[in-house]
């Protein structure tokens, strides 16, 4: 079973995302900010990361940049899931190594099609 790391500082968002991602057949792990996420990845690299942008301690972009520098850090499929919906922000995320991008609000349909597009399903 593939693991999806859900990174978001909102407990409610993590809960909703967890429900959706679990229903798509993933085992889920959670992190409240980029630093926690990075620590997790150093121990065990997930197949997928669902990533918020604005979080305390370390934001999503900084996490992604550091992740991609880790050995095997290129492996996880990273899907942003954020309220940032400016074209310039989306481009920034893609430059930093994001595979897909979801603008909140999201629903299970959106997560499912995005996961399909990047070959996770």
């Amino acid at each position: 079973m593939k693991t999806c790391l859900i990174v978001d500082d909102s407990r409610v968002v993590r809960m909703v995302a967890k429900k959706i991602v679990t229903s798509l057949g993933f085992k889920t792990e959670e992190a409240e900010d980029g630093q926690q996420a990075l620590d997790f990845c150093k121990k065990s690299m997930p197949e997928a990361v669902l990533l918020d942008w604005n979080m305390p301690v370390m934001n999503g972009i900084d996490f992604l940049v550091e992740l991609r520098e880790l050995p095997n850090g290129g492996e996880p499929i990273v899907v942003f899931c954020t309220t940032e919906n400016e074209l310039s922000k989306i481009s920034e995320a893609l430059m930093a190594g994001a595979n897909e991008y979801i603008m909140k609000p999201f629903d299970s349909d959106i997560i499912e099609t995005k996961f399909q597009q990047v070959g996770l399903l």
């Binding site: 074209l87 349909d109 099609t113 399909q116």
Partner: protein, 268 residues
């Protein structure tokens, strides 16, 4: 709505568009027609039905039919057909059409435009046919949907369903909470109001026809008639794509399935 009112309206919709409305769809008429009545200065269902019955108001009849179309669509709907075009059809055409360097595609029920725009994006991305002419005809019976398709403006919700993010970044501009399709992409597409029940001969011929998620609304004879029409519009080596719940089986002897490509048909 009274059963006789339902029957009258359902008959109108059926004769004009082929769309079959069964009595369990009465609620659809009840919810979608009040705005049409208002637009035509009619007070309610009774007035609307009477005006339709009088049969002198073509614009009203058109609007009733338009209101009863189901226009749900998304970018790269079902993904698989588009994958097939990319992996199988474009490479084949890049060889067989090398002379004229033109590929002709018909999106036969294009709704709000996601299907023809998806095709145009794919054609742009395909290396083996760079610099070729893509002529995409995007047609629909619904004037409202064609307007939307032509405007090429989509909500955040719409651009997130099926459209890869790289394509959004590459082919759209942002304006507030709206996303607007690239003008260059639009230049490959001709939008046209066209009813599938009408004579298709003036449309020309096509290498690829997408007639997806529209036959489901018709009865068997109508489906057969439309498939027979499309067969005549297809190049001898052209392909037809139907929706996931649609088939030619039992409806048309003009087509046979392309082996191993689900939902794709060629001339028999």
């Amino acid at each position: 709505m009274r059963p006789d009112q339902f029957t009258l309206l359902a008959n109108l919709v059926k004769t004009q568009s082929g769309i079959v409305l069964t009595p369990d769809k009465t609620y659809l008429l009840e919810s979608r027609l009040p705005p049409v009545a208002r637009k035509h200065g009619l007070k309610g269902m009774e007035d609307l039905v009477n005006a339709v019955k009088a049969g002198r108001n073509k614009a009203l009849a058109d609007d009733v039919v338009d209101a009863m179309t189901t226009n749900e669509s998304l970018f790269f709907r079902d993904q698989k057909p588009f994958q097939i075009i990319k992996d199988e059809i474009f490479p084949k055409l890049s060889k067989s059409r090398g002379g004229a360097k033109t590929i002709k595609i018909w999106s036969a029920a294009c709704s709000s435009g996601q299907e023809p725009y998806s095709l145009a994006m794919m054609a742009r991305e395909e290396r083996s046919i760079q610099g070729w002419t893509f002529d995409i005809l995007a047609s629909d019976i619904s004037r409202e949907m064609l307007k939307k398709a032509q405007a090429g403006t989509y909500t955040q919700f719409e651009v997130q369903r099926g459209l890869p993010i790289t394509m959004l970044v590459k082919y759209f501009k942002q304006n507030g909470d709206k996303w607007i399709i690239d003008k260059g992409l639009q230049s490959h597409i001709r939008f046209k109001e066209f009813n599938l029940l009408h004579d298709m001969a003036p449309l020309g011929t096509f290498d690829i026809v997408m007639c997806r998620n529209v036959l489901i609304y018709f009865d068997q004879p109508t489906k057969s008639k439309i498939l027979a029409g499309i067969a005549k519009r297809l190049a001898p080596d052209g392909v037809l794509f139907l929706g996931g719940a649609e088939t030619v089986l039992g409806l048309s002897k003009d087509f046979k399935p392309v082996p191993s490509l689900r939902g794709v048909y060629q001339l028999a």
